[in-house]
């Protein structure tokens, strides 16, 4: 039973990370109808920026927030320069552009920083917290906390600010939005900027666990897809809950189903995506969307 709780707790910790990458995916999907396959690599790149700042002697939290600002600007620029020209192209074109962006970011990171793994600091104390016999890593708890704070901030932003309302409007009904004076193109760009920020948080939270290297997000992106699919691609809160569930399932299956172990863990995520898409395509918390054709 102890092992069980222990696995659940560490599952929640990694699940928080999957949840925040999933949150970034869902945000861009909601704002632009695009699934951004480069989301993981964008997060990885942001983490390298944080690493560079920290190595240059910038205190952790300054580097953290500095990275968020740089990531926001970077996300906006990517949308303006790379996505804008194909904005009205068929969805497949945009998908290919995103995959191209993934490959480019990955190679550029490798070229600048090399493929050697680098340690990345955690802002939380290294001392584990004991609750009975179950060990909580301080970083794990911190990562979950940070994810929840990000979710709460985003919720408040979209729910209570005029800019957040305008972004929701622009995603839903671009024509009516323009008639209200909303600059739809910029709303999409800001959406990318926010998603890049959320991704950066996820990257900085996961790097202390998996170490920093250009491929660190590859597996995580797949788990994030599983999380977003499970929670529902139309539900930001669902993405985070989906992430936590995926993290726990992954750990429990890895522990109790012996032939899966650690090697086949990723397959669990893919199986989950398949199962959800077959039986409940809108996910646990998602809305079925209706498209007029």
């Amino acid at each position: 039973m102890e092992i069980f709780f222990q696995q659940v707790v560490s599952g929640l910790a990694t699940g928080g990370i999957y949840g925040s990458v999933a949150l970034a995916l869902v945000m861009i999907y909601q704002a632009t109808d695009v699934v951004n396959y480069a989301q993981g690599e964008m997060a990885m790149f942001s983490t390298y920026i944080a690493w560079t700042l920290i190595n240059a002697g910038v205190p952790y939290w300054w580097a953290f927030f500095g990275t968020l600002v740089i990531s926001f600007v970077g996300g906006v620029l990517l949308e303006r320069v790379i996505i804008r020209p194909v904005e009205s192209a068929p969805i497949l074109t945009i998908v290919i552009v995103c995959i191209g962006l993934l490959v480019i970011l990955n190679s550029v990171a490798g070229w600048i920083y090399s493929y050697i793994q680098k340690p990345f600091p955690s802002p939380f104390p290294p001392k584990p917290i004991m609750l009975g016999t179950v060990v909580f890593g301080a970083h794990d708890l911190g990562a979950i906390g940070v994810t929840l704070v990000v979710l709460a901030l985003l919720y408040a932003f979209f729910r209570f600010t005029t800019l957040g309302l305008a972004m929701r409007a622009a995603a839903q009904n671009p024509v009516s939005s323009r008639l209200c004076g909303i600059r739809v193109g910029w709303m999409l760009a800001i959406g990318w900027g926010l998603a890049a920020m959320v991704g950066a948080v996820a990257g900085m939270m996961v790097a202390p666990i998996v170490f920093l290297d250009p491929n660190m997000m590859a597996g995580i992106l797949i788990y994030a897809f599983a999380s977003a699919t499970l929670g529902g691609f139309t539900s930001p809160g669902g993405a985070v809950v989906g992430g936590l569930i995926v993290g726990v399932i992954e750990n429990l299956v890895g522990t109790y189903v012996h032939f899966i172990g650690t090697e086949l863990k990723l397959t669990v995520a893919l199986a989950l995506i398949l199962i959800v898409l077959v039986f409940k395509p809108s996910g646990l918390f998602g809305r079925a969307t209706i498209h007029r054709v």
Partner: protein, 236 residues
């Protein structure tokens, strides 16, 4: 002086020309209506005014030439548009829909005050303010479209077939409010309609369009007396 004036206005979608050089005007504080059957180019005319379609010729608003300017900028000049199909944000609440209408508003005053003002005109929207826009009936969505445009505090209100698909009583109610707004807030109105009877009752100036051309124009009272219009559009 004319608030809105079009001269030789042409518009096209891709290679298809839809407006073949039309002239019309909306006086400051006046109500102008453009009548015509389906496909006459009425909606395109409103889209041309809003910069939503490629145009040639000239459109002037409050003295300045506005052709080729972005829709978002024209909204900021005070052109409010209740578009064809009503343009409801179906997943947002009624109140959020209205707040969006005030997004590009110039000048001071609180949005809350303007909400009170439009709820005063359309009490049913106040009752439904927490409801998603998509759950409203057709008539209520039309009211929402007009109310959203009013949140801009527009100088010019463009109305695209507000009578379409609505019960006569609801149409009368909406147009009564448009008249009130026009009189009390001095908002000029450009109304395009198929329903000539209601439009001519409201407007002071009228144009009749057929396949992208203006074929008749004059004071609304005169067009109401015109035999051709009576037979074709008024049915008596």
């Amino acid at each position: 002086m004319a608030l809105l004036e079009a001269r030789g206005l042409q518009a096209q979608y891709g290679w298809t020309k839809v407006l073949h050089g039309i002239d019309f005007a909306v006086e400051e504080g006046g109500i102008t209506t453009i009548l015509g059957a389906n496909g006459a180019g009425k909606t395109t005319t409103l889209r041309a005014v809003c910069g939503m379609v490629r145009t040639a010729g000239e459109i002037r608003f409050a003295g300045q030439r506005i052709n080729g300017r972005a829709t978002e900028d024209l909204v900021r000049l005070g052109i409010g548009h209740a578009p064809e199909g009503r343009g409801t944000f179906v997943n947002l609440t009624v109140e959020e829909n209205l707040r969006l209408g005030a997004y590009a508003r110039r000048g001071g005053g609180s949005v809350a005050q303007d909400l009170e003002r439009v709820y005063g005109y359309f009490p049913v929207l106040a009752e439904r303010k927490k409801q998603a826009g998509g759950t409203l009936s057709g008539g209520e969505q039309q009211m929402l479209a007009v109310a959203r445009a009013l949140m801009l505090r527009p100088r010019l209100l463009l109305l695209d077939e507000p009578s379409l698909g609505l019960a006569p009583l609801v149409v009368r109610e909406i147009l009564r409010i448009v008249r009130t707004i026009n009189r009390e807030e001095r908002v000029s109105v450009l109304l395009v309609e198929q329903n000539a009877a209601v439009a001519l009752g409201l407007a002071d100036r009228a144009y009749l369009m057929e396949t992208g051309r203006v074929v008749m124009s004059g004071p609304a009272s005169e067009l109401r007396q015109n035999d051709a219009i009576r037979r074709a559009y008024l049915g008596y």
